[in-house]
């Protein structure tokens, strides 16, 4: 049991350590003192405001990671989370603004559902192409990203742009009833006042995480999805309809992807603008990899990435090193994690096989000249 637990902890710890060592080397090479730099990052990163910022960023990264993980669970590589969430955010912003004042809960619900629908449709397109035309989803989602972000979103932003005093290109602001209340008061119960708003959207991310776990592990749909990921041929023989499962997975993945940008939208910006944070879809892929598609693992991955983003900027401010160091660190973490997981997984399988063989051998010693074969294929 302890050994099994060790296997699941070994990889992330190893990859983090590796990333630190590698980061130190890079810092050294750029002429900065790694210790001072790390100390600065640590000092800034442990401030309450930075931690709140980490959670806000982590919320988005978590949803993005879950969206990617749903696809991963059945070996679908949804690269399109990027396009799905940005497109969903701008449409949700416009719809949220245009519906006017509504009762708060309903207003927010409308915005959430709009975003999920847009995300699901955009991703479902890739699903349909894959299911009925066997178009590789990596290619189609990359294309849909380009069409969505560079084409559709740019077009919509121009179309929905409302002139304001700051000459900013942005959609009309969502009325107050469509804002999500801040959760800053929760940590403030335990500490001092915090000069940064904690998005209420964090709660939605938690709910999505729980739903993800329940759907995957407690329902037939989740079973079908995982079975397809394990072995599509056996799953098909077991009655899983591959076309339906592919489309369903892409729809679910896209629906979650649609939520990625809403933390910022409902908690801070209240409109879609040119300054809307991008790249979260791609970071979600890394977060899902880091979290091994596990609801808690993804949360840890999202927190680590969110923290690096939130606290890494200080490197530049303090003049230790360029902020791009953070990007390098993120890359190293993912690379190290993927390798470490593969190694650990191999070890774990060998351990399981040996344990099974040993358990069988205990029941009936392998080397006994007994009347009937025991079916243990030791050599295989």
């Amino acid at each position: 049991m302890i050994r099994r637990l060790g296997y699941s902890v070994a990889a992330p710890v190893a990859s983090l350590l590796l990333a630190l060592v590698f980061g130190a080397i890079v810092l050294q090479l750029t002429g900065a003192d790694p210790w001072t730099a790390f100390a600065n990052v640590w000092e800034f990163g442990t401030r309450l405001e930075t931690l709140v910022d980490t959670l806000n960023r982590g919320t988005a990264l978590y949803l993005s990671g879950v969206a990617v993980a749903i696809g991963f669970k059945m070996n679908l590589f949804n690269i399109g989370v990027e396009g799905q969430y940005i497109l969903a955010a701008i449409v949700a912003a416009e719809v949220g603004a245009k519906v006017g004042n509504l009762p708060p809960v309903i207003h927010v619900t409308v915005i959430l559902l709009t975003a999920m629908t847009v995300g699901a449709l955009w991703s479902g397109l890739a699903g349909v192409l894959k299911a009925y035309r066997n178009v590789n989803e990596v290619i189609s989602t990359i294309m849909l990203n380009a069409i969505g972000v560079a084409g559709l979103v740019a077009f919509l932003l121009k179309k929905w742009d409302v002139p304001d005093a700051l000459l900013d290109t942005k959609t009309q602001e969502i009325p107050r009833s469509g804002w999500m209340p801040s959760l800053t008061w929760v940590p403030e119960l335990f500490t001092r006042d915090i000069a940064k708003e904690l998005y209420g959207f964090l709660a939605i991310a938690v709910v999505v995480g729980i739903l993800y776990h329940v759907l995957l592990n407690k329902t037939r749909i989740g079973y079908d999805l995982r079975a397809t990921g394990w072995n599509p041929f056996a799953a098909r023989a077991g009655g899983v309809d591959p076309k339906r499962t592919i489309i369903l997975a892409m729809l679910l993945s896209g629906a979650v992807a649609g939520l990625v940008g809403l933390g910022d939208l409902l908690g801070k910006d209240h409109a879609y603008s040119l300054r809307f944070i991008q790249q979260r879809g791609f970071n979600g892929i890394a977060v899902a990899l880091l979290g091994r598609n596990h609801p808690v693992g993804i949360a840890i991955g999202a927190f680590i990435f969110g923290w690096l983003e939130a606290s890494g900027g200080v490197l530049q401010v303090k003049g230790d090193a360029p902020a791009e160091i953070v990007t390098i660190l993120k890359g190293v973490i993912v690379l190290a994690a993927v390798i470490a997981y593969a190694v650990v997984e191999r070890k774990r399988q060998a351990f399981e096989t040996a344990a099974a063989a040993a358990a069988v051998a205990e029941k009936e010693p392998a080397v006994v000249v007994a009347p009937v074969g025991d079916g243990t294929e030791a050599g295989k």
Partner: protein, 507 residues
């Protein structure tokens, strides 16, 4: 004269299991030496050690009198040892020539000297009767021809000692004879052959000496003229060998599965031509045929994995021609796939998750058709493990941790432990040991007694003859003969399978 291969006290342990325990083997130069034993007896491990794929934990190996220590097959090849694996290791899109030179390319001015290689292959073919066109693409070759390519590959590398791992498992009787002729040709040229098999009459026919392994130990080395097949069998399993025999007929006149003029296409090519038959309650219908003659496609069409182009399939009177796999399974169709790793198991998943596969829309595995009932599913799996004698430490181990025989027993148990009206069994005992084989046969017989209709596709002709109530032979996508299993033997069946005999000639 020094023996070609001498193994002394070879021991190989895997965690919890001793695969080879003080095994001794003496293979004289220029002889055909058979190694017999059940699956799991340690034959494969021993051969992997001899071929340098795994190092022994203890013991000594001598080749032509010199002690050797192999760290990889390269070392073994350098000593003139070559191996033809049971599963051929050929690249399908390469020509015979490219496959043969792969890994030992003759070079000339820095590029591969294909002309010289082609010349060698033709020479080798001439010398040993291993005729094959070096420029054909491997994809187009029959199984027997592929095997010949593998043998040529070994000879091309200068192999003097050939290890053949269950070479007849994939061949029909006529092809087996050709193979045996080739093996005798190799022997005549001074090669030493180590031949792994568990078909006893073949072993008795071809070999000069036989070593029997049981549970990782050498039981005996005998001469074929001194023993009968029965003696060998008893040496192998330590008791009487079970045989597949049908008891009194339980066939009723209630049709369960009906095929009416069913046609199946693959890439626009007709792979199953207008096929009509009915399986009744309590009846086992066997389908014989050389692999690749439409049996797999027929099975896939019946299960719903493949579109039926023309014709109709009915189950218990209901037209299921265009229904989903899940619908058919819910209607009581069970399926034992021909390739358990590809079609049967979710290898990284736990046993109980594997037990659910195919039943994930049914009680007790799910409630209301939606919520997975983990406790009930696990309880069901424990029952399967108990009743079908699956050797495992528990229901939470991944399927990949089990041995092949136990994996197969799990699949058989999974399929047969839910209410069924028809079972599609494709090669249900392929690659499992005698004990597990007998268990599967028992289950099929029990199910038949209880009124199950069974379609049995198999390459094991004794199994087909022994279990079936009626026997069809498929050739090039057609049923070319319907035979009474009580009146044919494996040889005759083989003749039908290759088209050497026809139904007209028989009548």
């Amino acid at each position: 004269m020094e023996p070609a291969v001498l193994l002394e006290g070879i021991t190989k342990r895997f965690p919890g299991v001793v695969a080879n325990d003080q095994v001794n083997l003496r293979v004289e130069a220029g002889e055909i030496h058979a190694i017999c034993g059940e699956n799991g007896a340690g034959k494969s491990t021993l051969m992997k050690i001899l071929y340098g794929m795994q190092p022994p934990d203890e013991g000594h190996m001598f080749v032509n009198g010199e002690e050797v220590h192999f760290s990889s097959p390269k070392d073994a090849i350098a000593r003139g040892i070559g191996m033809v694996h049971q599963h051929f290791m050929l690249a399908d899109n390469f020509t015979v020539l490219e496959n043969v030179v792969l890994g030992s390319e003759p070079e000339k001015h820095g590029s591969i000297d294909f002309d010289a290689a082609r010349q060698r292959i033709l020479e080798l073919g001439e010398k040993y009767g291993l005729t094959i066109d070096p420029d054909r693409v491997t994809d187009e070759l029959e199984v027997g021809e592929r095997q010949r390519v593998e043998i040529i590959k070994v000879l091309f590398r200068g192999g003097q000692i050939l290890i053949l791992d269950e070479p007849t498992a994939v061949l029909v009787p006529q092809e087996v004879e050709e193979l045996f002729a080739n093996i005798r040709g190799l022997k005549a040229e001074g090669h030493t052959i180590i031949f792994i098999d568990h078909k006893l009459d073949e072993v008795l026919e071809i070999s000069d000496s036989i070593t029997v392994l049981r549970r990782g130990r050498t039981v005996a080395t005998v001469k074929p003229e001194d023993v009968s097949a029965r003696d060998l069998a008893e040496l192998m399993v330590g008791s009487e060998l079970p045989t597949p025999t049908v008891e009194e007929s339980t066939v009723t006149d209630v049709p369960v599965l009906e095929l009416d003029a069913v046609e199946v296409l693959d890439d626009g090519r007709n792979v199953v031509h207008s096929t009509t038959f009915t399986i009744h309650k309590g009846e086992i219908v066997g389908v014989a045929g050389v692999e690749g003659n439409g049996q797999s496609e027929l099975v896939e069409a019946i299960l719903g994995l493949r579109e039926v182009e023309v014709g109709k399939i009915s189950l218990n009177g209901e037209d299921i021609t265009h229904t989903s796999v899940r619908h058919r399974r819910e209607d009581g169709m069970g399926y034992i796939p021909e390739d358990r790793h590809r079609r049967g198991l979710l290898l990284p998943a736990t046993l109980w998750e594997n037990d659910m596969l195919g039943h994930q829309s049914m009680e007790p595995f799910v409630r209301n058709g939606f919520w997975v009932d983990r406790a009930a599913a696990r309880a069901h799996t424990r029952k399967v493990i108990e009743e079908y004698d699956v050797r495992t430490p528990g229901v939470d181990v991944p399927a990949l941790a089990l041995s092949g025989g136990n994996q197969q027993k799990l699949i058989v148990g999974r399929e047969m432990s839910v209410p069924l009206s028809v079972l599609i069994a494709a090669h249900p005992t392929r690659g499992i040991d005698v004990g597990a084989q007998a268990a599967v046969w028992d289950e099929l017989r029990r199910a038949r007694r209880e009124g199950l209709a069974v379609l049995l596709v198999s390459a094991d002709l004794d199994e087909l003859i022994g279990l079936s109530d009626r026997l069809f032979v498929m050739l090039r996508g057609r049923i070319v003969a319907e035979l009474d299993p009580e009146e044919v033997d494996a040889r005759q069946l083989g003749a039908y399978m290759t088209g050497a005999a026809t139904a007209e000639a028989a009548s």
